[in-house]
């Protein structure tokens, strides 16, 4: 309250260097995520690069026989890619229509209270560890498929794919539902006022308006399916068959990495480096898919927010 008569010093009593230190510490925390990415890239691509000095890249990408651990080595990665895509295909066959259906229901049909209970319940599905889903696929779904007449072998892509579909269903449903609820009320109201039914409004107004968010949801679901390990490790098998028939066993990229990495391959050997070569391929695939998804999410967010 009393003011000094002469010069008023508005400088701090001592320079606030503590604030600078804190800012530095926080920036360092942020750098952990940068280091992680750099680490992943280095961990994958340096050994992969070394691998491709020995093994021809074209042979790798186009070869159809995968036998890196046998005496007669063969490094064609196509069976692994096909295995991954085969399981992903069945997973998407389940997750995309059902996920979208669940999303439409939650967004357009369900009463708010029902929605409030069902949405977290759906998240529960996403919270089940994948090893549990793998167990379920192996010990319940495969015998079930046999019981209903589908002649699957003990390890098969179908059981793994179906269960994986249920696993990624919440992802697809949740993101699609977010995209649909972001569509402004006015668009729906306009259609309802013209006498449209709920079916028409949902399918002809809301879904098209939310399409970039919905496609983003699909794409993210695909990305998860491609990278998923435990379900396929337990239920799809470890035979790198180049087979589109889902009743046979297949080996996915992730399953190969897990099985080989856990084993006793000597560090630095060519077999060891296959882990990284396949890992780099897998990472590249998911990177592309994720980039597409992120761009789509941004597009739909920009449209309405």
């Amino acid at each position: 309250m009393a003011t000094p008569a002469v010069t008023l010093s508005l400088a701090p009593p001592r320079k606030r260097w503590g604030e600078t230190v804190i800012r530095g510490v926080l920036a360092l925390c942020a750098l952990v995520s940068v280091a992680t990415t750099l680490g992943i890239v280095a961990a994958l691509f340096i050994p992969a690069f070394e691998f491709f000095q020995t093994v021809n890249f074209v042979d790798f990408i186009t070869g159809t026989k995968w036998a890196p651990l046998f005496l007669q080595k063969s490094f064609g990665v196509v069976p692994l890619i096909v295995g991954t895509l085969s399981v992903t295909f069945w997973a998407c066959l389940v997750a995309i229509p059902l996920g979208l259906g669940a999303a439409i229901y939650l967004s357009e049909y369900a009463r708010p209270r029902v929605r409030k209970t069902l949405k977290p319940a759906l998240e529960l599905l996403a919270g089940i560890p994948t090893v549990v889903y793998g167990y379920f696929a192996l010990t319940f779904v495969t015998p079930l498929l046999r019981d209903i007449g589908i002649q699957v072998s003990v390890f098969n892509a179908l059981a793994a794919g179906l269960v994986m579909g249920v696993m990624i269903l919440p992802t697809v449903a949740s993101l699609s539902e977010d995209a649909m609820t972001a569509v402004p009320r006015d668009l729906r109201d306009g259609a309802y006022a013209l006498g449209s039914s709920k079916l028409q409004v949902s399918t002809r107004i809301v879904v098209p308006a939310a399409v970039s968010g919905i496609v983003a949801a699909f794409v993210l679901g695909i990305s998860r399916a491609i990278g998923e390990t435990m379900i396929v490790l337990l239920a799809a098998g470890q035979q790198p068959n180049l087979a589109f028939d889902p009743r046979q066993a297949v080996e996915t990229m992730s399953a190969f990495i897990a099985a080989t990495g856990a084993g006793d391959v000597p560090t630095g050997s060519i077999e060891y480096k296959t882990i990284f070569a396949v890992g780099a391929t897998l990472f590249a695939m998911t990177l592309v898919v994720n980039a597409v998804a992120i761009r789509l999410v941004r597009k739909y967010r920009e449209a309405y927010e």
Binding site: M1, T3, P4, T7, L8, L10, A11, P12, R16
Partner: protein
Amino acid sequence: MVTMSNREAEPVTIVGVDTLDLAERDRSMPPPETGEVVFEVSDLTVSYSEVPALKDVSLKVYKNFVTAFIGPSGCGKSTFIRCFNRMNDLIPTAEVKGTVLYHGADLYGPQVDAVEVRKRIGMVFQKPNPFPKSIFDNVAFGPRVLGMTDDLDDRVERALNQAALWDEVKDRMKASALSLSGGQQQRLCIARCLAVEPDVLLMDEPASALDPIATTRIEDLMHDLKRHYTIVIVTHNMQQAARIADMTAFFSVDVSDGHRSGVLVEYDTTPKIFTQPSDKRTEDYVTGRFG
């Protein structure tokens, strides 16, 4: 363009303004030029992303006076008052040109620390913003962060007393501040400012979010507070300015250079502004012809 006293203008009448009271105050108030200058503003221009929101403002704020900024919305009053405690620093796109002297020291000088500025110049906002903590912790926050922790309980009690809130909350100091009514919350925010013993109190439309009874209590409070503090208040309510302010500055919007910028039109004692404004724009505003 600022005009002071001299020009003989037609007296005006405004609804809701007690001209007798104003005349009384005109007689009893010491002439402002004799008072101590707390703020001296010269050619202040504030721009957001290069667009000027406030242009070439110059005025002086006097000690222990209540100085009100009035004017239509969008004329930069809030922008202006936020220059006095460097709150515009928090807006990345804001640029301040010109000088603001506080007791002779340049508020925007190179060595000046905004934290030190805000220790001495407190601010109360339009919408009461109590922290989601207890009543005690709200008032104690300022002293605690500024290291004034001796006799904390006494400080808190004194501040709440000065804000005319102590009797209402003394039995529930641990209760959440959010459980208070709007008017009580605003008085709590005032107490929060007073707890750090500032020199100046800036109030940006402090009663606009409150009901009339709460508003009256805040206005009564300001009468008491101005004995110890210098108060600057932004208000869109002319009658309020007429009731409580000693000096009034009228701002308006100028569109001459293609942008809507605020300019200071007239700054004078309150009785003068409301009974014999020198500028036509001021007269139009206070008589309700526009704005």
